[in-house]
Structures are given as C-alpha cells and as structure tokens.
Subunit: 426 residues, 2 copies
C-alpha cells in the first residue's frame, strides 16, 4: 500500500470520495456498536455462573475464621488471603482482602493518605502540593482519583519496557511533592507493555525524596494472558523493594473483576506489614468486614493458582479471536498507509492505536456518528488531554465477533478519512 503522505492531493481527494460513500452507507445502517470499555462479553460472564451455586443451603460455612456468615474477620478470610496471595505473587501474610472492586481500594488508599498521611507523615490535605506520576497513555480511572483529590498529574511517557525510568527517577528522587506513581506493570492499560526486569529493579531502587512516596502497582491483568501457553512474567516487586531496602514503598492491587464478575468480585492489597497496619487503622473505623461469603464463594470456585489458570484459559479462548480480528482488520485496512500504529498485546483488555497527530478526537467523533462508540479521545491521559491528540483505546472484549469486525472496519474508514483531511489541509 502506498503511504497516504506520498499520495498527491488528487489521489487523496478521489480516495476521500470513495471512502465517504462507504462511510455514509455505514451511517445509514443505524448501528449501535461499542468498543469503549474493557467489559467482558456475555460469554465470558457465563464461565463463572457455576460459582453462583457454590454456596447453598447445605454448605459448610465454617472455616478457620469461624462462621463466615456472621460479623467479623476484618482483614479477610485466611483462605481468601492465601488465594489472592497466590494470584498476586505475595505471601498470604502480606495480603488484606478488600471489597468488591480494587478501584475502591485504590481510591480509599489515596483518600486515607489525603486525610491521615502515610505511616505518620503529614496528611496530604495539609500540603500545598501533591503530585503523582502518570505513565501515559494510562488508565482513566487512576487519573480520576487524582483529579478528585486535586493531585497534580505529571505525564511520564511509556516505552516498550515500561515508563521512562530516567524521568521517573529524576522526579521521585528529587521532588518531595511527588507522592505516588500509577503502574499497570503487566499488559499495561491501554498499550499492553510488560515492564522489563530492569524497569522493576529501577522502581525498587528508587530513593524517594518523599518518605511517603508509594508505587501504586495495579496488577490488574496479572493472570489475563491471551496466550496462556506463553504468559509474560514480571519480577515480583514487593521482594525487589525489600531487597533494595524499600520494603514499604509499594502497594500491589489485585481483583477478580475480570476473572469472575466485574463489580461483584473480590479484591486485595499486598504490601508490607507496616503498610497493612497503617491501613488497618482506617479499616477499623470504616467497616466490620467485607463480604466474606463472596470471598468464600470465589475461593471454593477457583480453588487455587491452578484452578485460576484453568479458568483464565477459558477467558483467553474467548478473547483471543476478538483481539486477532481487530489486528487482522487494522492490518488489512491500514498497513503501509502510515496513518497510524497499533499494539498487538499478549494480554490485558486493550489495543492502543496512535493516529497521526491531531486526529484522534475527530476519528472518535466520526465513529460515533456512524454508531460506533469508542473511549473518548484523550481519556488515556491525565485531565483528558492527549498533547498530540493521537491515542485511541480500542476495547475488543465486549462485542460479538461479528459486531467487532464491523466496528473495526468502520473505525478504519474513519481513520482513513480523518487522515486524508489532515493531509489535504497540510
């Protein structure tokens, strides 16, 4: 294929005419397709239906923690800690269970730091300025938490091996207003990178100017491999931090949102005992216990690491064709045109697309007018501001394969049309 930027204006104009006709045809179909959010498909949700029958009138509800149906066991059932520890690569003794979503756990962790500080430090609400580093593109809901608490966000570019660590070190080691960084270390949201061992080691060896600096290690996709026979692996950061003399520097977050049921899963934090003790002061006032029946339901259904892996392989079977279809269509339609690049992730929930500069918003708007809802352009950046207006997050998981293919085709038409307009205006 001839790159668009090498085409003459006449060629581009003629192409535009053809594509506009195609676009109008799509528009006439009154479609309603959605590639906006990383939602599991209905088929994926079906995989966990048997879990709903695990607890019944004949179940034994007694565990080492007593009758799980009653009050108590603030930090979670022992077997749930064991299970989530295995999933999150952390000893059970470093795990506290939380509620039905890790997003709430992350929010509450920031909130607690804001109101009470971190292990005795000045509460962030008493400071003039608090900054978080945000590898970009990143997860919009991380940014929303910062936004809610008035935390200033600093963009850190992603590289194929993780965030730009020179920049991370420069900020963290010299600026004491920098209190945190958001990381999705495995199959990064949205661009799918896997942090290299060197990146993890450099994280563990940070020398933070702020003693209350913490790494918010959101290992959301820790078992979400698209190719389970060759799973990506990352160094275990809790241990690396301990080795480096920074045992308290990291909070690891995990949940079963995309293992069982989004919003109705179980979540956990894995961190040092000192951090757990700090957190428990809040939990003592905030609750008596999280939903232990749901903890029990999950553990008895998924059982252990092996049970979890087998379950996740079924998810992969459903997800893989969708990811491959998107890649195939983008390849068929856009390869060689030099109007965009995209990722081919080995896990996680997203494909990250980078258009020509200044085109993302227009592409998303055109898609919407043809009935294809995408994540808002800019959403993958703090404050919703993509400096280049080029990144678009594609979420292939939810639509049926047929719908997804159609949506991807329409997306490509929009990419072409907006790119042509840009080149024609140049």
């Amino acid at each position: 294929m001839k790159p668009y930027h090498l085409m003459s204006k006449e060629e581009l104009a003629s192409l535009k005419e053809q594509l506009t006709a195609v676009y109008k045809e799509y528009q006439g179909k009154n479609l309603s397709l959605n590639m906006a959010r990383g939602k599991p498909s209905s088929d994926q949700l079906d995989l966990s239906l048997p879990m709903l029958e695990i607890l019944n009138t004949t179940s034994d509800f007694n565990t080492v923690d007593g009758d799980t149906r009653n009050y108590g066991v603030l930090t979670g059932l022992a077997e749930a800690k064991q299970f989530m520890g295995e999933m999150m690569s952390a000893p059970a003794e470093n795990v506290y269970m939380y509620g039905s979503a890790s997003l709430t756990l992350m929010f509450d962790t920031v909130s607690r730091s804001y109101t009470h500080g971190v292990m005795g430090s000045t509460p962030w609400c008493k400071l003039d300025k608090v900054k978080f580093l945000c590898p970009v593109p990143g997860y919009d809901r991380h940014f929303s938490i910062c936004d809610f608490f008035g935390i200033e966000m600093v963009n850190i570019p992603m590289t194929p091996t993780g965030p730009d660590m020179d920049m991370v070190e420069e900020y963290v080691n010299n600026d004491e207003t920098v209190k945190g960084i958001w990381c999705v270390p495995l199959y990064s949201n949205p661009s799918g990178e896997v942090y290299s061992d060197e990146t993890v080691r450099r994280f563990a060896n940070l020398k933070p100017a702020a003693k209350d600096f913490r790494i918010f290690w959101d290992n959301a996709y820790c078992v979400h491999h698209l190719y389970p026979e060759k799973p990506a692996q990352i160094l275990e950061i809790l241990e690396e931090c301990a080795k480096a003399g920074n045992p308290d520097m990291v909070y690891k977050f995990g949940s079963t949102a995309k293992v069982t049921f989004p919003g109705a899963g179980i979540s956990a934090i894995a961190t040092s005992k000192a951090n757990l003790a700090d957190m428990q002061k809040q939990m003592n006032a905030q609750l008596i216990s999280h939903d232990k029946l749901n903890q029990l339901r999950h553990v008895r259904f998924l059982k252990d690491g092996a049970g979890l892996a087998a379950h996740m392989a079924k998810h992969a079977e459903l997800l893989r064709p969708r990811f491959e279809a998107v890649d195939e269509i983008l390849n068929k339609e856009l390869a060689g045109l030099e109007v965009g690049t995209w990722t081919k992730p080995m896990g996680g929930y997203f494909v990250s697309f980078d258009s020509l500069d200044g085109c993302a918003k227009k592409i998303v708007a055109m898609c919407k007018e043809a009935g294809v809802v995408m994540t808002g352009a800019g959403a993958t950046f703090p404050y919703g501001k993509d400096p280049k207006d080029s990144n678009i997050r594609i979420a292939p998981s939810f639509p049926s394969l047929e719908e997804l293919k159609l949506a991807a085709e329409i997306f490509c038409v929009c990419v072409k049309l907006v790119s042509i307009d840009k080149l024609l205006e140049a």
Copy 2:
C-alpha cells in the same frame, strides 16, 4: 426485695459471702459466653440461606438496567432502590445503593465531607474544629468514625422520647462548628428508645448555624421489631425536613446486615437529590458499581415490603425469647434491690443496663473473669468514657437460650457483688 442501700453493713457482708461462693463456682466452670456484640445467632443466619440459591446458572440476569453481571449502574439497580426505598420509607428516586455495609457508607460520607465539604462548603479538613453531637449512650462505631477524623464529640443525654432536643437545638442553631449528629431513631442503640413525633419534628425544624450541618439518621433497626404485631413507628424525617424548608439536612442510612447476612448485605442512603448529586461526585471516582449480583439476590429473595416483614417476623421469633429471658432473669435477680435499671426494648438488638455510679467497669471485669464477655464498659460513650461509669450494653442475640440464661445469671451475681462493695465502701 429489700433495697441494698437500706441493708446494714452486716447484712451486706453476709450477702457478699454467699454471692462470692456462687461466683467462684461459676469461675470454676471455665465458661466462654459472649453478650458483647449485636450478632445474629446461627439460627437467624439460617433463615437467609435460601437466598444463596436465588441466583444460579439458569437465572435471568437481565433487568431494566441491563446485564447485572457486568460493569455499570453506579448508583444501584432500579429494583434494589425500590426495595430499599420501601424498607427505608423513601421514594426510590431518593435512594442510592451502596456496598455490603452501611457503616462503610457512613464512614465514606464523613470522609467525603472531610476532604471535599458538603455541597460546596469548606472541606472539614480545612477547619480548625468540627463537632458532632452524640446522643448517649450510643453506638460505638459511630464514635469511632468521629475519632478517626478528629471530630470533637459532644454528649447529648437521651430521654425516653429521643435526644434532649433543647440541648440539640441550642448547639445546632448557635454553634457553626457543629456539623452533624448521630441518630438511631427507632429502637435506639443501645437503649431502645423510639423517637417521638415531636422529636422528629424538632429535628426537621432545626435552624443550623452551619449550612453543612447534617443529621446522620442511622435507621439500623427500621424493620427489626421484636413484637411485629405492634411495631413502633416514627415520623418520616426526609418529608418532615422538606416541609420545614430543610430538604438537604438529613442522610438516612439503612442496610440488610441484620436482615440477611452481616457484612454481606446490601446498604443504601436515602436523601435529597442535591445530596445524592454531591455524593455521586465521589462515587464517580471511587467505583464503577457496587455488587449488583448481591443487590439482585436480595431483591429476588425478599421481594418487597411484605416479603421483608414476613422474613423479619421469623427473626423476631428467634430474638424475642432471648430478650424476654434476659428481662426475666434481671427481674428475678435484681428487681427491688435498687442496684440498677434496665430497658425492655420493643425492637433492635440491645438491652441497656445502668448500674450504680462507678460500677460498670468493675461489673464487666468481673463478668470477664467468670467467662462472660460483655461490651467494654464505656463503649457506648464517645472516647469510651462514660462519665458515670454506669452503662452496660447487653447483647442477647448471639448465644443460645441456655447460654444466654447462664450468662445473665452470672451478670446479675457480678452486679450484686460490685454494688455491695460500693455500698460497703460508702
């Protein structure tokens, strides 16, 4: 019975000798009895076991809100709002669903006010002083929330018709540092009072000095009648506040903790739309949705107000004999001795006992040494400080009837011994 204070020192000393022998006998039995927390008994938990089978592999998970198994529906399922609205005497449109416990909802409401203020007011963390009024005796976990946020607590004496409203009006209408009051309006924790219509109207007609003053109306026992054929009723405060021109002044809290499973129930807030909108800003950043499957499970099991009432009648059948046994034993052992008074509640989870001044801590300590765990004396007051050291909260719900009777007998022996000691020292 002859009141102890009319007995001679000789009579008392002789009585003490007899009672000490009885006490020692109990001590020798290595008992382990618990009247400490308002936990449902195992029999009560069994009542809700069928709920665990409501959702299964053949269920229809689609509601007006779509597939309840997936992400979304931040403020809760429509039918859950309808159900909780019916339970909490509020229109569904004034209800937002929350997580698995109302304690967390109350904590988060205070936390949000602390970090972000109330409908645009100065965040409480930026103020030099914030005070809450605390009707006493009251619920220790309300006080823990204040304690966690450094909120100064002011004791307000309870009367048979609710908190001392002269004092409430004096504080709320004149002191702009007073931002809230904790209320358990129906079967108050622990003393069982039911707020009179006049009390509710006086609440609704407060003229707060602070525009961000809110009534934290924790209607924990709204359907927890011990005598369902003659349920106590209170005026609906949301409507009374609206009538009085204070539509935003109250947050009503409710949950199914003691309807189905403690910590694994569903909870909700009922308040004005302006307050809901304020709250939603936090929820937007904190979560995607609470556990909708648990909402669905609850609604399909309990169905509606009638289903709920029928279910609660079964709880009452199990609770009533326990409450009556405690009252019977206290009557048999202590009536006429003038060493203490106690409540005979018509609902809720507690009997409130008031000993002679300065005796509560000693009674609880003596009970413990004989194997009977009571709520710590003082726990029903802010900062754990009962100025008279006289209030003891008795929780009859959890032990078996046999154990409960034994525990109550031992409690009475301890009350007698400590009272005698006090009178002998006088």
